[in-house]
Symmetry: C3
């Protein structure tokens, strides 16, 4: 008879080795991850609210660059960002406007419809045996969930839901939120180093002084009260007198109306979608942090702050008060990740050792290894 769930400690029962150091450095290991993970999983590709109708956009992923085409209204297509004629890039760094119906290659003006079918070869006159149907754009699977676009480069994508855990955000009005701020930074670390940092709070007391004041349980180096029997661990989720992750602790606007009492009390609700994104929902705003591996030791990080339109429009709205809090946490984590990566490069260092509290890292490693072994 199993123990009741609430009494099962998530803590590891031993201190297993971490991944080998080569997993964070070796180009071949990295190439395998791009192929077995980044090509096969759903990757967050931005907010529909930030992609105007009749727009072409390049979205970079560790498994290749995609072209996202938003036609009229909510019609969205996604393809490999390459023209079958001679391999030109269909869209570069800058978004391109288009007529919402035909995607034209900027090199030789071949045109494709939103299903990827080749509709025109412009000045080129193929011979009669040329098979137009075989020379359309290569489609990329895509799903829109409550205003968030996800791509999957696999020919056989996994189910989009419900395993991704997005249901945890059902009480937030995801669809109507707009992006009030975004920032990007490149970190000199492997992408897994970022997730390891994300998956434990042993570093919180030393690395995140302000965050550890805001979330009292972090001062004990744990991620939730469930991990500890220390006195006070069952206390308030947020520092008394504060309701959100803002500099002054006050909500940046009206609280979302449909949150449950538990969601309100928690002060933050995390949704993690490997390999590329996590979302954090607060009572007043929501944050999306996504990552794109660029090389074995280089990762791009993007953070977006989402708000109800009326919050952004309210007189006296203080963007800095809400952005600076998490931006500081991200900068602290980024510096820690780069410090970790430099150490991992040390010749002779083989592998670290996980502590019982690092159970989420262990789960992440299992997630990665299961896919690499596949």
């Amino acid at each position: 008879m199993p123990e009741p769930a609430e009494t099962v400690s998530p803590l590891l029962k031993s201190c297993p080795p971490s991944l080998p150091a080569t997993a964070y450095i070796d180009p071949q290991w990295y190439a395998r991850e791009c192929d077995r993970i980044w090509r096969r999983e759903w990757i967050y590709a931005g907010r529909m609210n930030d992609l105007p109708a009749n727009t072409l956009r390049r979205v970079e992923t560790a498994a290749g660059a995609c072209l996202v085409a938003r036609g009229a209204e909510d019609r969205v297509s996604a393809f490999l960002n390459v023209c079958p004629h001679r391999g030109a890039e269909l869209c570069g760094a800058a978004d391109r406007d288009f007529n919402g119906a035909l995607i034209t290659c900027p090199y030789h003006a071949w045109a494709y419809d939103l299903d990827g079918r080749l509709r025109s070869t412009a000045f080129a006159t193929p011979t009669p045996d040329f098979d137009r149907a075989a020379h359309g754009l290569t489609g990329v699977a895509h799903r829109v969930w409550n205003g968030c676009l996800f791509l999957c480069l696999s020919d056989d994508p996994p189910d989009f839901s419900p395993d991704l855990g997005l249901a945890a955000l059902d009480n937030w009005p995801m669809d109507r939120l707009v992006t009030g701020h975004a920032m990007e930074v490149e970190l000199a670390c492997n992408w897994k180093v970022f997730w390891e940092n994300y998956n434990e709070c042993l570093h919180c007391p030393g690395i995140h002084p302000a965050l550890s004041r805001r979330v009292p349980v972090y001062r004990q180096g744990v991620m939730s009260a469930a991990e500890t029997s220390a006195p006070g661990a069952a206390g308030p989720a947020l520092e008394p007198g504060t309701q959100s992750w803002t500099v002054d602790g006050r909500p940046c606007g009206p609280e979302f109306p449909d949150l449950s009492a538990a969601e309100r009390a928690a002060g933050h609700t995390f949704v993690t979608i490997y390999p590329g994104v996590f979302l954090v929902a607060h009572v007043d705003y929501l944050r999306i942090v996504s990552l794109t591996p660029l090389a074995p030791e280089r990762t791009r990080l993007r953070a977006e702050w989402l708000f109800a339109p009326e919050t952004l429009a309210a007189p006296g709205f203080d963007l800095g008060n809400v952005v600076d809090f998490a931006a500081t946490v991200l900068a602290e984590d980024g510096a820690a990740c780069e410090m970790n990566q430099r150490g991992l490069r040390t010749p002779g260092f083989r592998a670290g050792r996980l502590m019982p509290q690092e159970f989420e890292i262990r789960a992440f490693h299992d997630w990665v290894l299961a896919r690499l072994d596949d």
Copy 2:
């Protein structure tokens, strides 16, 4: 009985695949090209008019750096740019003056004559068994054609002429032209991408608006009237009222006196010498565009504008009017090449497909592949 030549269409009879994407990216493919093509073929190395007497110059090629030594008058020698003593570079980025007779290594002052023979070991005193004859400079084949210097790093260079096609410029006074302007740019593309762009005009209407006005047939996406039966294709080669590739269409100086009527009517005469250079002769000036592969995805481009000395010296000569026209075309082609290269990197993209009008690309591919298979 074969058809008369003038009725044979150059158009391809099918739409064959282009080279595999790896041909533009893979370091091993590139290394093989350096060895089988760039080391074995004649490479344009600049104009004698730009190499003063008694000058040493480093000339970079994809097969290694060469030392060109111009002694008195027209005496020219070429060698690998390395001293046999301990491997020092004989000439760096800056030209060196010398006495026209002895090439001295800047490191230990060993001296070589213009035949590459070791003439002095300076302060070093070799033992009697040291074979000076075996420690001369390694010669590099060279030819001067009408003021243009060509090098070949092969031990067994192919014949210099007449296959290179230079005879097409016999009516231009090549020898006495001087360089009025030169520019260099590095493109983020494989060298073959540049030649593919050069070898078709399907991209002209979209990429080169001004050029397509100047050369009416380009508006139809073809390179010459021979490729098309469209009405007007046999019309004037250049836009009515213009005689040259200048911004205002007027010649930048007196027309060259010995051109044939056909050459005058054509408005431009192209000579292509794979793998490294093409020349374009107009009624009033001549342009040389050469390329040097630096890496699989990096190519240096150099353009030189040649004029009769009296054209350059004429009052009111407008250099901008002549340079800007082709510089714009080159910039447009450079951007297109980089766009093509970015697309070729797309994981999963295997190869493009050539159109019937891309017969010159097919011929270029054949030229490349024949040498790689060799």
Copy 3:
């Protein structure tokens, strides 16, 4: 019966080949050197006078980054610069103060004593089977000789002395000298190119005009009078009227009192400690030049000028007069090394040829090859 030592010429009896060009370029050759040479030999790691008590410092070597911890007084420890927990770097580019007793990892606050023993896992609570003794810092061998710190990353370090030749400096008050100036530069050359340059003076007349005036025998391209029978070779070691390697030739302060007459007359005493450092002692000051390979074709050079404290403190002390002389020589050598490296890259160049006067290069090559073959 052997010849009397003084009559044995050091000159080579033939002109053997130099190392193959690949030895200066190939990443695999370089990796083997890092492992067989830089990991196994004693590496100079700086002056104790420049490492305050209670300081942690990262020291980079070609075999990995080390952490040097100076506790109270002269207590020094050295370890691999990586935390066994999850591989964080213990000390970054900036020195860290510490309490002289516990080295704390900046990521998760694990703490180690100066013997490397794990003393605290901070917020982490390992399971009882976790073996703390197996998770201490990895020690790195270290020795302090007269104020100079040396490290060896081998598990089985060679004897520190007396083979290193440091006894030649016994008459200098090494221990009390302080660093009056230091400079670092990165050279685009293999580390062995630097030592080859150091090991011959055939280049001196051409590359070092001022130095060749100061040291007359250098004008003949030799390193010492013993190598030549030329008239005047037994003359004064330094230019008449000068006593040191300073711009004006005058000592920069009081002469060291315990030097022998021969040391005083020589004007410079060299000690070479492969693979990473040489020291040059003059009558009035001392210079240490150390190198750190960063990549096959990239080497960091560091030069330090050491003085008696009273010399530095004397009114009118002219730092520029003493620094500029050798800094000029180093800049000249650096440019020569980079010129050499560029030539070594020439495709088709296989190996240079050593001259009889390059006997020290031959000895250096033997030293290198013996270790690579090991």
